[in-house]
């Protein structure tokens, strides 16, 4: 038990040395000494609660994805029926209860209708995304399958994550972390942000731009007055604070152009009115569709709709063929800048809502580190004092082990790239208090064995041997609690768990293994006949 072959001694010291060295770059970052960049440089990351910054959890509304998908399907089916030879007539289309149901004029066209619909039903993947049923001989019912819906939500979330990343990059923030979480959430972490309001506004904006024709049927205006949407149209309110605030327009539901296919968007000023505006450029496909819309409807009024609100509704004077356009409608300069970023980074395929936000100012974070380190230092000194006055020489060994322990935890955290959070500081303090428990157990046992009259070496051996069982069990229960803490915890709490778990291993290594090495060395060299412990 007290014999250490040379290789064992060397490897123990090596492990301790490597882990301690790895803590150096992190420690030096608080001083003016610079760790050379071309060397291996493991660093402990500071959590947002220490470094300052914003943590924002965004949630997507899944039902919206389903609704959007249904609408796309409806448009696709209408188009396919119109293009069929001969044209397939239908009397009623409904999207109630999440299904698309189409009643055909002529039951004899059922097979033709089925042929027309089939190509629309298969997405890119292998899963069947829709189920087609024929009811009452003339009604086609398309139901989205669960797996199809899941695929759609997953891909919407993927592209939403990309959009979020592009928008945050456009804001010029440094080192943001953007991670998809669970089925319908995105975590955004941006260090060093004092006021995340601009960021939240930007992420909260879906930026779904649509160009739709205003319903010019004779009775439309009267119906809008009564708050009823004319057939084939929908009512869209004017944007709050914009030129059309307070009004409601009836616009044609189908046949418009979406702004998904923009290649760029820039904040500019309207050359005539000097009003803040956003100029947009379509990609070739979008440009073509936009050209067709404007060419076929010269003289008519169309609405520019952003996130289901009308921004403006100009009259089309001439076809717009170049694929560029300008949107204005009573924007402030700030609004137009934000809109340009939002449009340029693409529309969010689904609306995102902030469901959790935690922001810590850099001042508070720095203050937490300062007071935390002071408290930790005082605590460590007190524990060291207690150990030395209680166990003498053995207390010094425990102290040495404690210092190595703290450095090793820091070093291992740096090597695995984990994050030190505010609760993590509490984790360090707790570990410092608890780490000496192993030493206490061993030393108390040695005291007992000496009292029972065992000789020095035998007592020390028995101390280490008999105490190790309880040390093992005690650490296992802490480990169980630590793992649950890690699994359940959100960011800051995870940081606490990481320190505790690493601390369990390093505490046993330093408090049991290293002290045993030192005690053995001392016993071998000075061969004491009595122990002061």
């Amino acid at each position: 038990m007290l014999d250490f072959p040379r290789w064992k001694k060397v490897s123990l010291w090596l492990i301790a040395a490597i882990a301690m060295l790895a803590s150096l770059p992190s420690l030096l970052s608080f001083t003016t000494v610079h760790w050379p960049d071309n060397l291996y440089k493991p660093m402990v990351n500071l959590g947002l609660d220490l470094a300052g910054g914003s943590h924002i959890l965004l949630e997507a509304d899944q039902t919206q994805v389903a609704a959007q998908r249904l609408e796309n399907m409806e448009e696709g089916v209408r188009q396919a029926f119109g293009n069929a030879e001969p044209e397939i007539g239908y009397t009623e289309v409904s999207t109630a209860s999440g299904r698309l149901s189409i009643t055909l004029e002529n039951p004899a066209q059922v097979d033709a209708a089925r042929e027309a619909v089939l190509p629309l039903m298969n997405g890119a993947g292998l899963v069947s995304e829709w189920r087609l049923q024929v009811l009452d001989t003339n009604r086609l019912v398309l139901t989205p399958t669960q797996s199809g819906l899941e695929t759609a939500i997953a891909s919407a979330m993927d592209s939403a994550t990309d959009v979020v990343r592009r928008r945050i990059d456009a804001l010029g923030t440094r080192e943001p972390t953007i991670i998809r979480q669970g089925e319908n959430r995105i975590v955004v972490q941006v260090p060093g942000l004092q006021d995340p309001q601009a960021l939240k506004d930007l992420l909260g904006q879906t930026a779904q731009l649509e160009f739709k024709l205003v319903d010019d049927s004779p009775d439309a205006a009267a119906l809008v007055q009564q708050g009823i949407a004319p057939g084939g149209s929908q009512l869209v309110p004017g944007a709050v604070g914009g030129d059309y605030a307070g009004t409601v327009l009836a616009v044609r539901r189908l046949g418009g152009v979406r702004g998904d296919s923009l290649t760029s968007a820039e904040a500019t000023r309207d050359p005539q009115t000097n009003e803040a505006a956003v100029s947009i450029t379509f990609d070739s496909q979008g440009a073509e569709r936009f050209a067709r819309l404007t060419r076929e409807n010269v003289g008519k009024q169309f609405a520019i709709i952003l996130d289901d609100e009308v921004i403006s509704a100009p009259v089309i004077r001439e076809p717009i063929l170049g694929g560029t356009s300008q949107i204005s409608g009573g924007f402030t300069v700030q609004q137009s800048t934000q809109l340009a970023i939002a449009l340029g980074s693409g529309a969010l395929p689904v609306e995102l809502t902030v469901v959790e936000e935690r922001t810590v100012g850099p001042d508070l974070g720095a203050e937490s580190i300062r007071t935390g380190v002071i408290a930790m230092t005082i605590g460590t000194l007190l524990v060291i004092g207690l150990m030395i006055i209680t166990y003498g020489r053995f207390g010094v060994y425990a102290t040495l082990a404690l210092v190595i322990n703290v450095l090793m935890i820091l070093g291992i955290m740096a090597m695995i790239g984990s994050t030190l959070t505010l609760p993590g500081i509490a984790g360090f303090v707790l570990t410092i208090g608890a780490a000496v428990d192993a030493n206490v157990l061993i030393y108390e046992r040695i005291r007992e064995e000496r009292k029972r009259g065992r000789r020095v070496v035998a007592a020390v051996e028995a101390g280490y041997r008999e105490a190790s069982r309880a040390i093992y069990d005690a650490n296992m229960t802490n480990f169980i609690a630590g793992v649950l803490l890690f699994m359940f915890g959100s960011g800051p709490v995870k940081g606490f768990a990481v320190v505790l778990i690493i601390g369990l291993f390093t505490s046993v290594f330093t408090g049991v293994t290293l002290t045993r090495l030192w005690v053995a060395e001392w016993l071998r060299k000075s061969r004491p006949t009595d122990l002061r412990i």
Partner: protein, 325 residues
């Protein structure tokens, strides 16, 4: 220099003699704790209740205008705000709950947060925003359930481990000790109306691990003594085991306390609740390992003969490993 001995040699306190009164006291305290939790309620922070908590410092001001803020934010129709000093005298934390009717609206908490902050900033131009936490009703609900699961899983997992490593009676004893520690700590959280948030749950989980350390050390010694002193009667054997490990119990609890107290006094204000909870829990945990975990073994029918076979099997293995068999 003479070395310090906190617990004198040959200490022999008859802990077990008083086990019945202490059990009665513990039972009363446990019941009282839960009565307090249910009548006074826990002071849920935004993590669990949803809503908004903002910490602001009034720069250049001696003291934060708490009363004024209370009136101003209370008048916004969002219910009574909780305003507490936070760290320095000119810093406060302002907490506004989530009205019940918008609990399920995802963006409601953010919106309320924006309004509260705008209102404070409109009336005071020397406000520095230190931190802000906004949690929606749904996320808060998820935190509540995961916290509960984690706590129960930890208690169950640890008890199970003790059962496997020792015997079922010890597992049950550990379960009782843990239930006791968690109950009393919760009772104190309710009594002092300390903010109950994710950090406190983390503290409770850590506590479950550490409070059991003492119990394990005592149990380990009981197991050892059960083999050594086959003829001793149980109360005496338990007393002996608790006394033999007493100096270690005192030393470890003391070292934890002296490490934690500076954090409590000088550490970051945001860690106060968590540290206080762990510190309280260490007292409770030390008490329970002496007065709950050990005596309960008598009631569960552990005798010096209970474990002979099991113990020898384990022992044989250990001896073999040491080459003594």
């Amino acid at each position: 220099m003479k070395l310090l001995k906190l617990v004198p040699d040959d200490t022999n306190i008859k802990f077990l003699k008083l086990r019945v009164p202490f059990y009665v006291i513990s039972a009363i305290l446990m019941v009282a704790s839960w009565v307090m939790v249910f009548t006074m309620g826990l002071n849920y922070g935004v993590d669990f209740s949803g809503g908004q908590e903002v910490r602001v410092t009034f720069v250049g001001q001696e003291e934060a205008p708490v009363e004024e803020l209370r009136e101003q934010i209370g008048g916004m129709g969002l219910g009574e705000p909780v305003i507490q000093r936070f760290g320095d005298a000119n810093s406060v934390s302002i907490r506004v709950g989530l009205p019940e009717e918008v609990e399920d609206t995802p963006g409601a908490a953010t919106e309320i947060g924006n309004r509260v902050i705008a209102s404070i900033q409109a009336n005071h131009d020397n406000v520095r925003r230190d931190a802000n936490e906004t949690v929606s009703g749904k996320v808060a609900g998820e935190f509540r359930s995961t916290a509960l699961y984690a706590l129960m899983l930890a208690i169950a997992g640890i008890s199970l481990y003790i059962w496997v490593r020792f015997e079922w009676q010890f597992g049950v004893g550990a379960l009782f000790a843990l239930a006791h520690d968690v109950s009393l700590t919760m009772g104190m959280l309710a009594l002092f109306q300390m903010e109950f948030n994710l950090q406190i749950v983390a503290a409770l989980l850590a506590l479950i691990g550490y409070s059991l350390n003492d119990t394990i050390v005592v149990y380990d010694r009981i197991r050892e003594n059960l083999k050594k002193y086959r003829k001793m009667d149980m109360p005496a054997l338990l007393d002996l085991s608790v006394n033999e490990t007493l100096s270690r119990t005192v030393m470890t609890s003391l070292s934890l306390l002296i490490a934690l107290v500076p954090l409590l006094l000088f550490g970051p204000a945001s860690l106060f609740g968590m540290t206080a909870c762990i510190t309280l829990g260490i007292f409770v945990g030390t008490y329970s390992s002496v007065y709950m975990a050990a005596p309960i073994l008598i009631w569960l029918g552990v005798t010096t003969n209970s474990f002979v076979q099991v113990e020898t099997a384990v022992e044989l293995q250990e001896k073999k490993a040491r080459g003594e068999a």
